[in-house]
């Protein structure tokens, strides 16, 4: 229903628009909903021509005929008003509800069980933790820098989710070596930038730190 309260002028205006291309409020035969709204509107202004037409039409039925109208068949309203549809299966308006309540209950149970099993299974399996494998190039100031001391210092860094791996010295030239160290970080706990900053704090040894390789595991 696209019209509001028919007791207000605004609602009547919307009803007028609604009835412009429809003969009845719901479906293609008069139903109880027509009667309900009809009774809510005592008199129709002549400028609301569509409402007037509909009103006159509903008025033409006798009280007895009105009583025999089919119940409200609008699926939109059916969700709001509780209608016992179980005994008139031939009225094909109950679009989404199942027509067999028992079947519905068992189906719901099966679904529930499946959801339960699934969530249990999910709990058993540890959540996948996103990790990255990084190779860092740590460059010393000059050839006199004590690389062993530097490596020892670097390995003192302790951060949550950080694990150092193998390291080696790679010659750069003129007797200068750089330290390549592998490490694995958990993305959520430890940021690479913070790690690099930590390493650069050993100013006596470290000139700069670069990321040589970065792989998501």
């Amino acid at each position: 229903m696209t019209f509001g309260d028919v007791k207000t002028a605004e609602g009547l205006k919307h009803l007028n628009l609604f009835l412009e291309d429809k003969s009845y409020l719901s479906g293609f035969v008069p139903c109880q909903f027509d009667v309900e709204i009809f009774e809510a509107i005592p008199k129709v202004n002549a400028n609301l021509v569509n409402v007037l037409r509909w009103h006159n039409h509903i008025k033409s039925f006798s009280a007895e005929e009105k009583k025999n109208f089919p119940p409200d068949t609008n699926p939109i309203r059916a969700g709001r008003v509780v209608i016992d549809d179980s005994d008139d299966d031939d009225e094909d308006v109950d679009l989404f509800a199942s027509d067999d309540e028992e079947e519905d209950a068992t189906a719901a149970k099966i679904r529930e069980d499946r959801v339960k099993a699934y969530s249990e299974k999910k709990q058993k399996k540890p959540a996948l933790i996103a990790k990255s494998s990084i190779v860092l190039d740590v460059k010393p100031w000059d050839d006199e820098t004590d690389m062993k001391e530097m490596e020892k210092n670097v390995r003192t860094i302790v951060m949550d989710g950080l694990v150092f791996g193998a390291s080696k010295l790679v010659p750069v030239g003129y007797g200068i070596n750089k330290l390549q160290v592998m490490c694995v970080v958990e993305d959520e706990k430890c940021s690479v930038d913070a790690l690099i900053e930590e390493i650069e704090k050993f100013e006596d040894f470290v000139q700069s730190v670069d990321i040589a390789a970065f792989n998501k595991i």
Binding site: E20, D21, K22, S23, F28, V49, L52, R53, H57, F61
Partner: protein, 170 residues
């Protein structure tokens, strides 16, 4: 048009669940009908010969309704069936205040006009359907009756397309 007379009569007879009898076109394309030894000549005579046999009450209640009904039938035959497109706006205007053509119930006039207008309505564009909104409403309501529609297709009156043109109204 005259060839359509017979198919219209056939459809009306099927809707009323009466035997259509033997329908032929006589002199000057006047439809002839013979059934159980009786012969009727002319469209309306044939139509009225069906009415008493039908269980449906399509003839109107009061004499005023009956007279109105007869006028609508004549109008449909003489004017509308000859050049339907010219009469759409007139019919549309009439239906502004009406749910059905005569009285407040389905009558033979609605039935006949449905069959006469079917070909036209089927080929209208959405914009034209919108223009003849009252006629469209009546026609849409008519065609929902499967007995009436018979083998005809449902004419689409979906206005979603028009929402792009005048969103406020749809």
């Amino acid at each position: 048009m005259s060839s359509n007379y017979l198919s219209h009569l056939n459809q009306v007879a099927t809707f009323m669940k009466v035997p259509p009898g033997k329908l032929t076109l006589g002199i000057n394309n006047v439809p002839m009908h013979s059934h159980e030894g009786k012969t009727h000549r002319g469209f309306l005579n044939i139509l009225y010969s069906y009415l008493p046999h039908s269980t449906k009450n399509l003839a109107g209640e009061t004499s005023e309704e009956k007279a109105e009904l007869y006028q609508w039938l004549e109008y449909s035959l003489i004017y509308v069936s000859q050049s339907p497109l010219h009469y759409l706006s007139e019919i549309n205007e009439f239906l502004t205040t009406r749910t059905y053509f005569v009285a407040q119930t389905l009558t033979i006039a609605d039935v006949l006009l449905y069959y006469i207008l079917y070909n036209v309505m089927e080929n209208l564009t959405y914009l034209e359907k919108e223009k003849y909104i009252n006629l469209s409403r009546w026609f849409d309501n008519m065609q929902q009756n499967p007995e009436l529609r018979q083998k005809n297709k449902l004419v689409d009156f979906n206005t979603n397309y028009l929402a792009a043109i005048s969103p406020a109204r749809h």
